[in-house]
């Protein structure tokens, strides 16, 4: 087991994310394809970690497991102190709702739905009333400079603006972890840098960020890189 180097000032308490010997095997008919083969990852509160790897390296599988969209075939995964390895679908949905904020490469905003409604939607699944939802959704949008775009639908926004709406949506539930999957992949350089700046700003405020990317340049901006290759962590 290779210990992952940590920023010394974060070596307190328990890790936010703790993967131990996690494997994930996809069964396609007779064939068994291992995507992850025994991975250990620790991410501490307040860290900005980049998971970097080429396509087919297993980084997407790793992200799905960290994001509680998938379960490991073997091994344990603890997030915020809870062992979610054996959670059922509803249990995983609860973790996604309370603990994780997603930012996707292709934004994944709800079509034909205003920016404000989009940002308010995660609160719907926490059982928050409509009035409060819309009220709480305003703050992150205004903070990301979209205060004048509340009623715009995704199709009326630029890529950079859409990604900022997506970040606002990830922030609205005040999650412990922001999980960003290639957040700059579809953006031009300027918008990409803007998004990275926002993520850094959020990290400076103490938010834990895990960034998945295949670009070394993007990964270089994180405090720490985890390299994935052939389903294993190489450094």
């Amino acid at each position: 087991m290779t210990a992952v180097p940590l920023a010394p000032e974060l070596l307190v308490g328990t890790p936010l994310i703790e993967l131990r010997g996690v494997t994930r095997v996809y069964s396609t008919g007779r064939l068994e394809v291992p995507a992850l083969r025994g991975v250990d990852v620790d991410v501490w509160p307040g860290e900005f970690v980049a998971i970097i790897g080429h396509s087919g390296s297993g980084k997407t599988t790793l992200m799905n497991i960290i994001g509680c969209l998938d379960r490991p075939t073997d091994g344990t995964y603890r997030i915020a102190g809870e062992d979610v390895s054996s959670f059922d679908d509803d249990g995983l949905a609860r973790i996604r709702s309370r603990t994780i904020g997603f930012v996707f490469q292709n934004y994944n905003l709800l079509p034909r739905t205003s920016a404000l409604e989009n940002v308010a939607t995660p609160l719907l699944y926490q059982g928050v009333g409509r009035r409060e939802r819309l009220e709480r959704a305003k703050a992150p949008l205004e903070r990301l400079g979209l205060g004048d775009r509340l009623t715009h639908e995704p199709s009326e926004l630029s890529g950079g603006q859409q990604q900022r709406v997506a970040i606002a949506r990830a922030l609205v539930t005040e999650p412990a972890l922001i999980l960003a999957d290639e957040p700059t992949g579809n953006l031009d350089t300027a918008s990409g840098e803007e998004v990275m700046a926002i993520l850094h700003e959020l990290n400076d405020e103490g938010r834990t960020i895990v960034l998945i990317t295949h670009e070394a340049e993007v990964a270089a901006k994180a405090q720490r890189q985890i390299h994935v290759r052939d389903g294993m962590i190489v450094s």
Partner: protein, 397 residues
Amino acid sequence: MFRLALSRLGTSRLRTALTMLGVIIGVASVVALVGVGQGATGGITARLQGLGTNLLTISPGAARTGFTRGAAGSSNTLTQEDATALAALSGIAAVEPEVSSSGFVVAGSQNTTTTVLGTTPAYPEVRAFTIADGTFFNQASVDHSLRVVVLGATTATDLGLTSSAIGQTITIGGVPFQLVGILQAKGSTGPVSQDDQAIIPITTARAYFSGGDKVRTIGVSVADANQIELAKATITTTLQARHGVTASALDFSIADQAQLLSTFSSVGATLALLLGGIASISLLVGGIGIMNIMLVSVRERTREIGIRKAIGARGRDILAQFLIEALTISLIGGIIGIAVGLTISVLISTVAGWAIVFSPVTILLAVFFSLAVGVIFGVLPARQAARLDPIVALRYE
């Protein structure tokens, strides 16, 4: 959640409207056909009740000449005394003996040939007639064989007589009679109209037209509708004793109006059920329409479902979303369908002249069924949506 469903349905209005149309047609046809069935039954029942619900009609048996048996009613076994004896029985409200013949009636320049019925003042009560104009003749007219006549509505119209003609003299078979009353029309039951007749005192009829002591028919009005069977038995026993015949060789028969009524009612109920059943098929087709559209919608919105799941929606949240959409379509469709169905049944009832039957049970059933259609045909697509794997759904293009 409901707001969400509404806004989603709003984004594809044409599709929603067409899907709803399936439910509307289904519910409307159920409501309309059941309404029409009930209206028709009500109409038939009302006409039968017009004959007098508590009415028993006693007719003579078949005449026997040697070994030849004649048609029922062809003998002359009933007499005026039979009628008097029956009137004395307990549980009998009124009795009216009838004799009849055909007569040529002339009023001024108009003439017609109609049934001349000789009876007693109990006739309107037993046969459930009301007097439109003038009065019915009284017992004194019968006692003194007065030449007075009450005309059926049709006969009066044929002769061009209206309320102003009361007191005029008309002739029947050349004999002058004074017109004292005109009956309210009842409508026809079968080929013979009850409204086409001239009614005169039975004694007068005997004196001028039929003669003898025999009676063609005796109408009996039973006091209590629940005692009809008992009354029939009492009448049978009484007449048997009077005629000196055995139970196996009765020389008279008793027709029961209530029996006919219940037969028609049950036929009507079966008819309504049958019509409703046929209409339910279109409701079923409407339901399949909902399912079809919801399945397409789940497929189209796979990615949306993936996003919702990623940001914290549980399976049941997605299930609820799609189920509410299906229910909204079916409920709104159901309500519109009820309105359309009621309108149709009111129109048909009006045209056919039936009483308009507004049955809250039918409405409740229609609402219940349209909701049931929404749930039954919405569950499958909604479950399909709820079970989608978020990873697969997110990648779906």
